[in-house]
């Protein structure tokens, strides 16, 4: 594999560090299920409050792990697919900022100064250093991305007639989505939350802050998802023994995500005041369109796997499904991707329900929501990250996986666990059970005046799922850390390569050749759907500013002496 020694080191740390942090992330995930079902009826365990642990769970699993992985995976994809060097200065400074940001945020969370959950909605206030940490983290991810741009430019200049490899289009799309998404959240953090948490300004416009957050929050989910889509389009077909059914479909899907993933954040704010109903309707329409590239992906991937299964003797309309390498230890990566796809069918369908305008009010902020996103970010995304981290770290270290059979079982066990977990939470959510709530202290506690017996069964199924998920990740940790301890042979690095599928239909379609027009379209789409509502919210006479509150006191911080 073509990789500079410095980039190799950065990538290794960027992959291993979040997996170590994941130990806390998973522990707090398991605890959530126990608190929620009332198996533990306390406010804190081992000195960590429920909401503090929930903040750690969200920040570590959904922000730190996903971003570090996307950056590291991108470094490998760009350098190895283009066979060119990256800008080490940018990659290294990006890494340092990501690290400092993570440490600051983690320090604030674990000392109890940032129990504001990973959405950090004001006017709940965290320690200013928490916001500083977030800002550094975001800038670090930008610099990491910028380290690929000179490489890409150079390659284009040297290969004016060749198509850019699909994986590179995919990872660039990922970071174009991220670049667009992080501008509004950077504005929120730097110009609103930070000065306000420092006491420099007394009040902020909460509706505006929430809108900027969700302007970021929805494309964020595509930022999580797209690296896994890169694996689906460029690796899964080959793992299945076949070829990618259509190269065009991959390019078109990635470029559509660039345009469509940002201009639709109001589908998280259907219940919010201060935003016009017509704008909410417009975002519903755009959300519905973003299902198009996903449906296209579902077809293309199924067709690619069919090609693989049929080339090893699979037949029939459905019987060929039996010929896929579900249990082939040499191709242990296959089930990580395959199981993720299966889980994602349910994640996708429930996501459409969430985004369906008035239908949203039935499930908004209920347990249904975490049930849904554990089938997206906790399904394809998480399994993709686990599988690819194991694959890359093994290869880059010149190490070996001793227990390939065990590695193979992780995704199946996880699928069983996460589907059980989500079933429980879907049940509760439909009956109104709230998300993000220490229910053991109230709703599932028979001694409380708020006792709701109908929520117990769902929450208990959630515990069962949580236990299976935890077992699955423990199995993964065993395989992963054992691999780290294995004897390394650096000469193997030369023969190590990313899996790259060939295309069955390798179309040459003009309108998916260049990134630029799609970036322009994305900016225009965002302006059309956000400029006017943002202006209205920022200048509304009906919205009054809000002063900060600490999560543990009903006293306004602004008026405290």
């Amino acid at each position: 594999m073509h990789i500079q020694p410095a980039i190799r080191k950065i990538v290794l740390i960027e992959l291993i560090l979040p997996i170590v942090l994941l130990i806390f992330g998973i522990y707090h995930g398991l605890l959530q299920t126990l608190y929620r079902a009332g198996y533990i009826k306390v406010a804190s365990m081992l000195g960590i409050n429920y909401y503090q642990g929930l903040t750690a769970h969200g920040v570590i699993n959904a922000i730190v792990l996903t971003t570090f992985f996307a950056v590291a995976f991108g470094h490998v994809v760009v350098t190895s697919c283009l066979k060119k060097n990256l800008h080490v200065g940018l990659a290294a400074s990006g890494f340092v900022l990501l690290l400092i940001g993570t440490l600051l945020a983690a320090a604030m969370i674990f000392t109890g100064h940032a129990s504001v959950l990973y959405t950090f909605y004001p006017p709940l206030k965290a320690h200013p250093l928490f916001y500083v940490g977030l800002a550094l983290f975001v800038v670090g991810s930008w610099l990491s991305f910028y380290s690929w741009i000179p490489t890409y430019r150079l390659w284009r200049r040297e290969n004016p007639t060749r198509k850019v490899p699909l994986a590179v289009i995919g990872i660039f799309s990922t970071f174009i989505v991220w670049q667009i998404a992080t501008v509004p959240v950077a504005v929120e953090v730097l110009f609103m939350l930070l000065p306000w948490s420092l006491g420099w300004v007394a009040e902020i416009n909460i509706v505006l802050a929430r809108t900027l957050f969700w302007f970021f929050g929805h494309p964020l989910v595509y930022f999580w998802l797209l690296p896994t889509y890169v694996m689906y389009y460029t690796m899964l077909p080959k793992l299945a023994g076949g070829k990618l059914f259509s190269d065009f479909a991959g390019r078109f899907a990635f470029l559509l995500f660039c345009v469509l993933s940002a201009p639709l954040g109001f589908h998280h704010q259907f219940s919010d005041p201060g935003i016009g109903v017509n704008w909410k309707a417009l975002h519903t329409v755009l959300t519905s369109f973003v299902a198009i590239p996903s449906m296209m992906t579902a077809f293309t991937l199924a067709a690619s796997m069919e090609h693989g299964a049929k080339s090893v003797g699979g037949t029939g309309l459905f019987r060929w499904w039996g010929k896929l390498p579900y249990m082939d230890a040499q191709r242990w990566l296959f089930p990580y991707l395959f199981c993720g796809l299966v889980i994602f069918i349910f994640g996708g369908v429930t996501g459409i329900i969430n985004a369906s305008f008035s239908m949203n009010s039935l499930i908004h902020n209920t347990a249904w929501i975490p049930a849904h996103f554990h089938l997206t970010v906790g399904g394809p995304v998480f399994l993709g990250i686990l599988g690819m981290s194991l694959y890359l770290v093994t290869g880059l270290l010149g190490s070996d996986i001793r227990n390939k059979k065990l590695a193979l079982w992780v995704p199946y066990l996880w699928t069983l666990g996460v589907c059980t977990f989500s079933t429980g939470l879907f049940m509760g959510g439909l009956k109104g059970e709230p998300r993000r709530t220490n229910m053991g202290l109230s709703y599932v506690n028979p001694e409380s005046t708020g006792f709701r017996s109908e929520w117990i069964s769902g929450a208990s199924i959630g515990v069962l799922g949580g236990v299976i998920m935890t077992l699955s990740v423990c199995l993964f940790f065993f395989v992963f850390f054992r691999m780290l301890a294995e004897k390394k042979d650096l000469t193997k690095l030369d023969s190590f390569a990313l899996i790259e599928s060939e295309a069955y239909h390798d179309e040459n379609i003009g309108f998916v050749r260049n990134l630029k027009p799609w970036i322009v379209a994305a900016v225009i789409a965002v302006l059309c759907s956000y400029a006017i509502p943002l202006y209205n919210i920022a200048t509304s006479k009906d919205i009054v500013g809000a002063v900060p509150f600490a999560p543990d006191s009903p006293m306004a911080q602004g008026t405290k002496k």
Binding site: L124, P273, N360, H364, T437, P554
Partner: protein, 267 residues
């Protein structure tokens, strides 16, 4: 290399567009013909600070709901079957949720703004209200109730637990002042008056009761102890309440006296 998009990919894209269009059509029809929609921008409505219920016509009510850390005002609403209620929601502090479970009313209570939704209660029964937006350390204890009753002539708010009553003729003025402070300083968020446990110990019957502390000691609560608890909350921590610490409050000596007298009066 072909210059054409494969026929099946074209078909899939067309099907995807058709499915999405049909989906949008259904949502639009639901909004236009059945009024199933989402909250809009309210113009000219300023945030309010007190909950209230008013009857507009026979079955038509208007409810003003205030969310605050960590309760709803009013915490309980009783209405007749068939009541059509226009609900306005606001918050006094942080963002809260307002979900009347069993209905489609699910609103964000955002400080500085007013939210609106309408519900028609067709069936008798208890409709619990849940705060479903994280609002701080006692979020899980934030709930309320709407009770729909048959053969009721008019809806009402049962003696609001947290309502500041008119000065009872025989109530000493210090107690009245303390009662007011109990609301204004936010003690209500953590201490109930009716024996239920919220974040801190209930004030009901506290005077003369034995308080047990984390260091193993205990004290019979007298005036001096209550005063100390308010001024230096961290000095003695009541057993079982060590996870959420009571914040210190800026209070004047007269205010402390009022609070102590009020707490003593909660039997």
């Amino acid at each position: 290399m072909s210059d054409r998009i494969h026929g099946s990919e074209k078909k899939v894209i067309s099907i995807a567009i058709l499915v999405s269009a049909a989906h949008l059509f259904i949502l639009a029809a639901a909004a236009l013909f059945y009024g199933l929609t989402v909250p809009d921008c309210l113009e000219g409505v300023k945030p309010f600070t007190e909950g209230s219920l008013s009857q507009k016509t026979d079955r038509h009510y208007e409810l003003h709901m205030v969310a605050r850390m960590w309760n709803f005002d009013p915490a309980e609403v009783v209405l007749p079957v068939g009541a059509r209620v226009d609900i306005f929601v606001s918050s006094l502090d942080v963002t809260h949720g307002f979900h009347i479970t069993g209905t489609n009313l699910n609103l964000a209570a955002v400080p500085g703004a007013v939210n609106y939704g309408r519900v028609v209660f067709g069936k008798p029964g208890v409709y619990p209200i849940v705060c479903n937006e994280y609002c701080g350390i006692a979020h899980h204890g934030m709930y309320g109730t709407i009770r729909i009753v048959e053969n009721l002539t008019a809806g009402y708010l049962p003696a609001k637990k947290d309502k500041v009553p008119e000065v009872a003729s025989n109530e000493p003025p210090l107690v009245t002042q303390g009662r007011k402070l109990y609301h204004e300083k936010g003690c209500i968020a953590c201490h109930s008056l009716d024996g239920s446990q919220v974040v801190g110990p209930t004030f009901k019957g506290i005077y003369g009761r034995l308080s047990y502390f984390t260091d193993g000691t205990s004290i019979k609560a007298d005036e001096a102890y209550i005063q100390e608890s308010i001024l230096f909350p961290q000095k003695k921590i009541v057993k079982g309440f060590e996870s959420v610490l009571m914040p210190s409050f800026p209070v004047t000596p007269e205010e402390v006296q009022g609070l102590v007298e009020f707490i003593k009066s909660v039997k």
